[in-house]
Every structure is written in structure tokens, then in C-alpha cells.
């Protein structure tokens, strides 16, 4: 792992620009995060953020949808927009020599999207189909229900909302909403790769010249519901989803929580895989994860098993969660640290991963950290930190969602 250096600047427009030079690599990535997203939708605007995501590249005053797609293809640039709970994120990857042109073209869309009526209507129709198709893969149906119950409104909203809500939007309303977002946007930009920072800064300044950006941050509230919901569906397996409140990224025990998740579910020697699958053969898939909106944290544990094994699987899951409070060892902590640190040499070492992590750091803590600083934080966690973190966790407050033929009896 090389000694990385992060450059953070506030551009004259007010947008934040984070940059990491990665001279040995063959591609460049630029990521642009515009705050807003699903949680910022008005109660009667469900699905609008998704439709904006789908239609941002479907027309500008100068270019139609196909011309837009063609111009990115001419450069060989890979480009996508993803709407999330708290933002729209545009990710563009390209060969280093095309990063300037790619960046300019992305901003042409962000600042000039016209949301043509025909594509808005197609996107509405496809969103309704996507909602219907979500009923098929059990994993996505379970996840949607888990999020709604654990987070409540607004963070638990699904991007696709409902067919009724989607029907209320048209190109005029989307244009109006996007204009309102872009009138004074909070924009955070990160770039990584073998490219010139000064040149890219100049391009961003030109692109954002007339846009007064804000540094406003919005923190949404988690309305956690410790409920127990079953979704009936005629499928072979029963799916179990448990959610617990976690800590925000800014919390001093955030890294301790990450390592606890790794002890539970970080590799095939982790506790859940070992106890639920390897020793008992109860499941094929089992795992724990955590996620962090701004100022909040949530832990999820999921497993899928055939109905006759469901009660036992649930018992073992709860037993393992409780046991975590009692007997984490130095060896387990060390293993979790090794896994986390090695991630910075493998999957976390790519240009795109680095650009995305710079933005994630800044989003939560207003500070983008080099890889070395992340590693130091991981190494600094002690068994005492793990114990303090786990002692603060209330495992009795659990949001449970199950999915399958019949509601399982879980005690």
C-alpha cells in the first residue's frame, strides 16, 4: 500500500473537491455526490428521486438521449447515476486521457437536464414494473421490508415508492424539483487516478462557475420500530431479517462496531458462518452487515433456511449475538483487523473504491482520510473498546422481518 496523499479543496462555487493521485493505475474515476435523494422527497413526492436518476441523461437543450449516450461511448467512459437515501451519486470511470471531457459532459447533464416527457413516462412505466418484479427475489423483498420497519420514515423509504406515487410525477414536476435542488446544491466531488489535479480543478471551476453551492448538511432521524412482521409468500425457504440500532460513523466506537461485524460475518471463519452453517448445516446463506446514514447506524443480520429449520436457525442467531458480548478474544479481534486492513490492498485499492471512500469519509466527518489513517484507526481498536461498544448495545430492541410460506414461531 503506497503512502497516499489526499488534497481537499473548497472550490470558488462552494463545492468540495477531494483528490487522490494514483499514478500507477490505468483508469480514472470521478464521483459527484449531490445531497438530496429519497429522504428529502416531500411526503407526496414518492419516487421522484428515482425518476430524476433515470432521466438525468435523457436530454439537454443541445442533445437528445441517444446523442448523450453516444458521446460517452465515443470516449469509452462508463457512467451511472445512483439515487440513495441522502443523495444522488454520479460515478464516471474512463481512461485518464478522457477524464476532462468526461467530467465536462457529466456536468452538462447535471446542470442542463431537461427531463423529456417521453422518457419520464417510460421511466414511470419501468419503475412500476420494477416494483412488481421486486416481489420475486426473496432477498430484495425482505430487504425492503427490513428497511421500512427498522428506519421508519424518511430513511426507510424505498426509492421506487408506490405505483400511485409514481403516477403523480411528470416532466414538469421533475424539472422543478431538480431545479430547486440545483439552485443551491450541496455538492461533494472526489476524483482518483493518474490524472492532473490542477487541470481537473480548473475544469470543475468552469463547470460550476455560476452555481452557488451550499455546505448545508441534513441529518434525518431514525424512527426505529422493534416490531415483528411476517410477509407470506409461497417459496421454498423462510428468510429471517433482524435489525438493531448501530452507531453513526462519527461515533468513536464506529470502527469497533465494524470489527464486531467482521467477527460475526467477515469470512468463513467468522462466527455466524461457523456456527450456523459449518457446524449445523442449517443454511446456505447467513450474514451480518452494517450501514450508516449521516448521524445514524443500523446493523442487519439475515439468514435463509427451509421452514422446518427456521426456529433453530433463529435461536442460534440470537445465541451468537448474545455470545458476542461475552467472549470476543484477542485472536478474533486480530483476525478481524487483518481482514479489514487487507481490504485496502485488494478490493479497496481500486481507483473507483478510493474515490468513493474519499466521499464517504467527507460525508460523515468532513475529512477525507488516506488509507494509512484508516489502517491506524483499525489497529488502535482494543478488546476493551470492543467490550465498551458491545456493552452499550441493547440487543433486546430488535426489528424482525420474516418471509416465507408461514409465519415461523420464534421465541
Amino acid at each position: 500500500m503506497s503512502n497516499s496523499q489526499i488534497h481537499t479543496s473548497i472550490l470558488p462555487s462552494g463545492a468540495t473537491f477531494l483528490f487522490e493521485s494514483m499514478p500507477a493505475y490505468h483508469t480514472a474515476t470521478i464521483v459527484i455526490r449531490i445531497m438530496g435523494g429519497v429522504s428529502s422527497e416531500a411526503a407526496d413526492q414518492g419516487g421522484s428521486s428515482h425518476l430524476i436518476e433515470q432521466c438525468l441523461d435523457k436530454g439537454t437543450a443541445e442533445l437528445d438521449a441517444r446523442q448523450i449516450a453516444d458521446q460517452f461511448d465515443t470516449l469509452g467512459s462508463q457512467y451511472s447515476v445512483i439515487v440513495g437515501r441522502e443523495s444522488w451519486t454520479t460515478i464516471a470511470s474512463c481512461l485518464p486521457e478522457h477524464v476532462v471531457d468526461t467530467t465536462r459532459k457529466v456536468f452538462d447533464l447535471l446542470l442542463g437536464a431537461t427531463f423529456p416527457a417521453n422518457y419520464v413516462n417510460v421511466s414511470k412505466s419501468l419503475a412500476v414494473q420494477a416494483l412488481a418484479s421486486m416481489q420475486d427475489p426473496p432477498g430484495s423483498l425482505l430487504r425492503r421490508a427490513m428497511m421500512q420497519q427498522a428506519y421508519g420514515t424518511p430513511l426507510g423509504r424505498h426509492t421506487l415508492a408506490t405505483p400511485e406515487a409514481l403516477a403523480t410525477h411528470d416532466n414538469g414536476s421533475l424539472r422543478e424539483q431538480w431545479s430547486s435542488v440545483m439552485a443551491n446544491p450541496t455538492i461533494e466531488i472526489a476524483a482518483a487516478g493518474p490524472v492532473d489535479q490542477a487541470h481537473l480543478t480548473e475544469v470543475l471551476n468552469n463547470a460550476l462557475g455560476g452555481v452557488p453551492c451550499s455546505d448545508k448538511t441534513i441529518t434525518h432521524t431514525v424512527n426505529f420500530a422493534a416490531g415483528n412482521t411476517h410477509i407470506e409468500k409461497d417459496i421454498a425457504q423462510t428468510h429471517i431479517g433482524l435489525s438493531f440500532l448501530g452507531v453513526p460513523q462519527s461515533n468513536k466506537y464506529a470502527t469497533a462496531e465494524d470489527l464486531c461485524i467482521s467477527i460475526l460475518s467477515g469470512g468463513m471463519s467468522a462466527r455466524l458462518f461457523t456456527e450456523v452453517r459449518e457446524k449445523l448445516g442449517l443454511v446456505y446463506s447467513v450474514g451480518a452487515s452494517n450501514e450508516r446514514p449521516r448521524g445514524a447506524g443500523m446493523i442487519h443480520v439475515t439468514a435463509a433456511t427451509t421452514p422446518e429449520r427456521c426456529a433453530q436457525t433463529y435461536e442460534v442467531l440470537l445465541r451468537e449475538l448474545s455470545r458476542l458480548k461475552e467472549d470476543v478474544t484477542e485472536a478474533e479481534l486480530s483476525l478481524a483487523k487483518t481482514r479489514a486492513i487487507s481490504g485496502y490492498a485488494t478490493s479497496g485499492a481500486s481507483v473507483q473504491s478510493r474515490a468513493c471512500e474519499l466521499l464517504a469519509d467527507y460525508f460523515h466527518k468532513k475529512e477525507a482520510l488516506p488509507i494509512e489513517a484508516h489502517i491506524e484507526r483499525i489497529q488502535a481498536v482494543t478488546l476493551s473498546d470492543i467490550k465498551t461498544y458491545l456493552d452499550s448495545q441493547d440487543l433486546s430492541k430488535v426489528s424482525i422481518v420474516t418471509l416465507g410460506k408461514e409465519q415461523p414461531t420464534l421465541s
Binding site: T27, L75, N121, T346, A349
Partner: protein, 414 residues
């Protein structure tokens, strides 16, 4: 003719025991990936042991003469490895991705696993895991679609067998049957070691030689040929538990061994972002998923146009897929389309060059199918050389004309 692997760092060896090695060092990376590919999969099974290759893949994590399953998993995790394995119709691959200094240890561990002791006391527990996996895929529309396609297109051939097997074949499977299969198939001359990323090739070769020196070369049985029974007609499975309808329209296509880049270019002209199907089918609102791909095996292939749609739109979507097949004759691929495909590939190649795991899988595929690695540049050159006339020639050799074989899975009864 220029070999595919010039202008790259490939190092290819065959050890005295028959194990093939293909290494591609990339010294700018902080990591490296390696794996063993075993040239065995469901097509090498008999119907009574259907699913054994995949079950065996799980069992190889369950212990060796040196390690029990706890130690296998722990040792991977101690290296910080991103590791796993998969089984297909034709191959089984075990792999891991580690910080560069751990590659030697990971190689030794993977080699140890390839001589699994297949512990009998773990056999039934793991059988339950496999049965759960089978149940999981029963709830997946895409898997059900492929299942029906395989059975229909390759009826009475080894390719009709399921990778996972079925409850009926896995439940009664005996440990002794797995052991015999393992002894016959996991022999060095039927295996390939592949590595990509930052490592010293000489050191790595020495490690592989040491760890596999005791492996005995044994002749393997040749594969039975699979000829697809592609005819016109419809094969339908009505499954009321799904809300969507999955459709595949299948036509004969070349085997992977043909190294035919025309079919890859054709797929990309038809499917993906900014493709014909994207604009003609998805962006007209007809359905949210539609595409095309070449389903390729070592001795045969199928070209597939597919879609996932609302059940009430099935007929309309099938007509749209057939219209795409017709359109490629009426409006041949343009230079602009070919340039788009080439530019996309150029970017993918650059990304793979920075990602040892991605590159590992490409090299493993190439060595398995072609018997040699192919450099990223040679792949790009081949794609760039495909002209519209070449696609037209392909379409005469492997026509998309006619009705093709229609596979339909979902709630529709007709």
C-alpha cells in the same frame, strides 16, 4: 499467425506431474490473486451422481491431512484473503485474492485443499447446506429459467445435468461415490494453476512445484460430446409463485473453443447500455430487462435473446425479441455500433489490468478453453478487427432466422 499472448508478461509451464501453470505478473498492484481450476463440472457426472462436482467443491473446504475445516477457513482469513470457489457445467475453480506478501501462503493452502481428505463426519452436515442451496435457487426466477433451458436444449446430453443436482440425487449420494469422482477428476493433468498481480514468478513456480510434487498424474476420461437439440418450439414451465415471466429465445452458436469474437461483438451490438435492445425494448417501456448473450461450452454454444417481463406482455416481448433477430439482417451492424463496442471493451480491459481478481478469472477461462492465456491487448485487437461484413458472415453460419427455441418460465400457463 501471431500468438495471443505476445506483448504480455505471461509465464506458462507444465510441471512434470502434468499440472499446467499460467502466471501474469503485474508489479504495480499492491495485491495478487491465484487459484486452481479443475476441468470438471456437472457435464462430467452421470445422472446418478448429478451435483457431485458442486458438492465436492464444498467438501474441499472441509479438511485435509494437515488442516481441519476450522483451520482451512481460519488460515484464509489470517491472510486477509477474499476467497471462494464456484462450479459450473465444465469447471470448478478455487481462488483467493490477498495482499501481495501472502500469495505464497495462499498458494500452499489452495494446493492443500486440492488434496482434500473429504472428511466423512462432515459429509452429511454439508449435504444439508447443499439442500438449502438447492431450495434457495428454487425461489429464483433466473435460475429456474436456466434450469429449463439446459434441460430443453441439451436433452439426453451431459450438459442437461444440473450443477447443483437435485434433492433426489443429493440426498442419497454416498461419500464413496464422491471419493471415486474426486480421485478420477482432481488429477494434476486435469488442473490448472493461475495467478495474476504482484508476485515474483520464479518464487511462485517454486512454491507450486513444492506443494504439488507428490500429486500423481493419472489419465482422465475424455468428455462425452454434447450436441444441442435446438429445434423450433416452446418449452414452458408454469410457476405461479413468480410475478414476472422469464423468456429466452435460443439459436445455435459456436463453441467457446472457436475463439469467435464476432459473436461477442454481436451480443454487445444487441445488448447493454446504448445498444439496440436498450433503445428498442427497454426505453420504449416494454420491459425492464432484455439482453443477449452467447452461452458457450467447450464443444457447443447457444445464442440467447432474453427478457424478464410482466406476464401479460409475454407475446409482445417475444415478438420484440424476434424483431431484433430480424433487424440485424435488415439493418446490419454499423461502424458506429462497432466503435461503441470496441470503446467499451477498451475500458473494461484497462480496469481488468488494475484488478488482479478480475484478470485471474479471464486468464483461467482462457487457459481452460483455449489452452493458453490471452493478453488484454490481443483481445482488444481481435474485437477491433471485427467488421460489419464479419457479423453478416457469422449470421449466415449461425442464423438467428426462424422461430428459435422459446423457453418460458413464470406464471403464464400458455
Amino acid at each position: 499467425m501471431t500468438p495471443d499472448n505476445v506483448n504480455s508478461n505471461f509465464i506458462e509451464r507444465v510441471l512434470p506431474n502434468g499440472l499446467k501453470l499460467c502466471l501474469e505478473p503485474a508489479h504495480h498492484m499492491p495485491s495478487a490473486a491465484c487459484g486452481f481450476l479443475v476441468q470438471t463440472g456437472s457435464r462430467d457426472e452421470t445422472p446418478d451422481i448429478e451435483g457431485v462436482s458442486h458438492f465436492l467443491e464444498h467438501m474441499c473446504f472441509k479438511g485435509t491431512a494437515k488442516r481441519d475445516w476450522v483451520a482451512v477457513n481460519r488460515d484464509f482469513d489470517l491472510m486477509g484473503s477474499r476467497y471462494n470457489a464456484f462450479t459450473s457445467n465444465e469447471k470448478t475453480m478455487y481462488y483467493g485474492w490477498v495482499p501481495k506478501d501472502a500469495l505464497g501462503d495462499q498458494t500452499a493452502l489452495l494446493a492443500d485443499m486440492m488434496r482434500s481428505s473429504l472428511p466423512e463426519d462432515e459429509f452429511n452436515t454439508e449435504k444439508n447446506v447443499i439442500l438449502e442451496e438447492i431450495a434457495m435457487y428454487e425461489d429464483n426466477l433466473g435460475s429456474c429459467m436456466f434450469d429449463l433451458a439446459r434441460k430443453t436444449l441439451f436433452e439426453n446430453t451431459p450438459l442437461a445435468l444440473s450443477v447443483l443436482g437435485t434433492k433426489e440425487t443429493i440426498s442419497p449420494l454416498k461419500h464413496s461415490a464422491m471419493q471415486s469422482y474426486f480421485d478420477a477428476r482432481y488429477v494434476p493433468n486435469n488442473m490448472i494453476f493461475v495467478a495474476s498481480g504482484n508476485f515474483d514468478p520464479d518464487q511462485l513456480i517454486a512454491i507450486v512445484e513444492k506443494e504439488t510434487a507428490h500429486w500423481k498424474n493419472t489419465p482422465t476420461q475424455a468428455r462425452k460430446k454434447a450436441t444441442p437439440s435446438i429445434a423450433t418450439g416452446t418449452s414452458r414451465q408454469t410457476l405461479g409463485k413468480f410475478t414476472q415471466q422469464a423468456i429466452m429465445l435460443c439459436f445455435p452458436a459456436p463453441a467457446a473453443k472457436a475463439d469467435d469474437m464476432r459473436v461477442r461483438v454481436l451480443s454487445d451490438v444487441l445488448a447493454g447500455g446504448n445498444s439496440r435492445m436498450y433503445w428498442d425494448i427497454i426505453q420504449t417501456g416494454l420491459c425492464m430487462q432484455a439482453g443477449a448473450f452467447h452461452l458457450d461450452y467447450s464443444d457447443t454454444g447457444v445464442f440467447v435473446l432474453y427478457a424478464i417481463c410482466s406476464p401479460e406482455k409475454e407475446a409482445e416481448v417475444v415478438a420484440a425479441l424476434r424483431a431484433q433477430a430480424k433487424k440485424i439482417y435488415d439493418q446490419p451492424a454499423t461502424e458506429k455500433e462497432l466503435t461503441r463496442v470496441c470503446n467499451h471493451l477498451k475500458m473494461s480491459i484497462a480496469k481488468a489490468g488494475d484488478a488482479p481478481m478480475k484478470r485471474l478469472m479471464q486468464i483461467a477461462d482462457d487457459v481452460d478453453v483455449f489452452g493458453r492465456g490471452r493478453s488484454l491487448q490481443s483481445m482488444l485487437d481481435k474485437v477491433a478487427a471485427v467488421k460489419s461484413a464479419d457479423i453478416a458472415t457469422y449470421l449466415e453460419e449461425f442464423p438467428l432466422r426462424g422461430d428459435g427455441t422459446l423457453i418460458a418460465v413464470g406464471p403464464n400457463a400458455s
